[in-house]
């Protein structure tokens, strides 16, 4: 039995979709694709030292995170934004980036295993 906590909460998405579960499924599918892409891009740009691009991607993720109820990432996203806005590349940022990548891949995996309809 999987005892890892569920990283997402679709209740708000279902509410915003007026119970249209096919639409919810299409949003989930899109999020899975996006989160895997974003995990890779964040890592790639961070390794190249391009904090501007990291900031742009992380910023663009914010509404998706809200819609998908991934509240655990909210603070980390804010922290990454703060560091990258100030162009501060430090050990904490490095940890946050690694954690973000891991979390995005985990939530993507959990969503793949979740049956909307």
């Amino acid at each position: 039995m999987n005892t890892e906590p569920t990283l997402f909460d679709l209740s708000e998405l279902i509410n915003l979709s007026d119970g249209n579960m096919e639409f919810v499924q299409s949003m989930v599918d899109l999020f899975i694709t996006q989160s895997e892409e974003n995990a890779e891009l964040i890592k790639e740009h961070y390794e190249k030292g391009d904090l501007g691009k990291v900031k742009a991607i992380v910023h663009s993720m914010k509404p998706s995170i809200l819609i998908m109820g991934i509240y655990s990432l909210k603070e980390d996203i804010s922290s990454i934004e703060d560091y990258t806005r100030r162009n501060e590349n430090n050990a904490h940022l490095s940890e946050l980036i690694a954690k973000m990548e891991e979390s995005l891949l985990k939530v993507s995996q959990q969503l793949k295993e979740y049956h909307v309809i």
């Binding site: 915003l16 979709s17 819609i67």
Partner: protein, 139 residues
């Protein structure tokens, strides 16, 4: 949420596909049947000659296309070409300090992408329908 059919044409530019999809779905459920989504402001401007009644513009539009202009630049171009366009800027938390500048550049309204995004949108749509319906009665 009202879903009375609404004749107004809406263009929206947002580089986050999930949020754009959510907006499209919400607008259609609200009765707006003529809704078009663009990933960048430049793509929106290519069709601006279609004269949308309402434009929803994200503030930051360059996460996917690095050279894409931001929402405030696109706003200025839309208003310069079609000053009567009702432009709603879409911002994230922490950017409300830019809001005054956006209104100076011709934005008609703004909404924030936060936990209250649904009610923010509903209120903005009620306002825009009231204003545009009022304009068409006066013509």
């Amino acid at each position: 949420m009202t879903n009375i059919p609404c004749k107004y044409k809406i263009f929206l530019a947002d580089d986050n596909k999930i949020f754009a999809l959510f907006l499209m779905n919400f607008l259609k459920n609200s009765g707006f049947t003529d809704v078009h989504s663009f990933e960048t402001g430049e793509l929106l401007l290519q069709r601006i000659h279609e004269k949308p009644d309402i434009v929803l513009l994200d503030y930051f539009l360059n996460s996917k296309v690095e050279t894409a202009a931001n929402g405030n630049e696109i706003l200025k171009q839309v208003i310069e070409l079609y000053p009567d366009t009702y432009v709603i800027m879409v911002t994230s938390i922490g950017e409300s300090d830019k809001v005054r500048e956006l209104f100076k550049c011709g934005a008609s309204d703004y909404i924030t992408k936060d936990e209250k995004v649904r009610s923010n949108l509903e209120t903005a749509l009620i306002r825009v329908r009231a204003i545009l319906d009022g304009r068409s009665r006066n013509c």
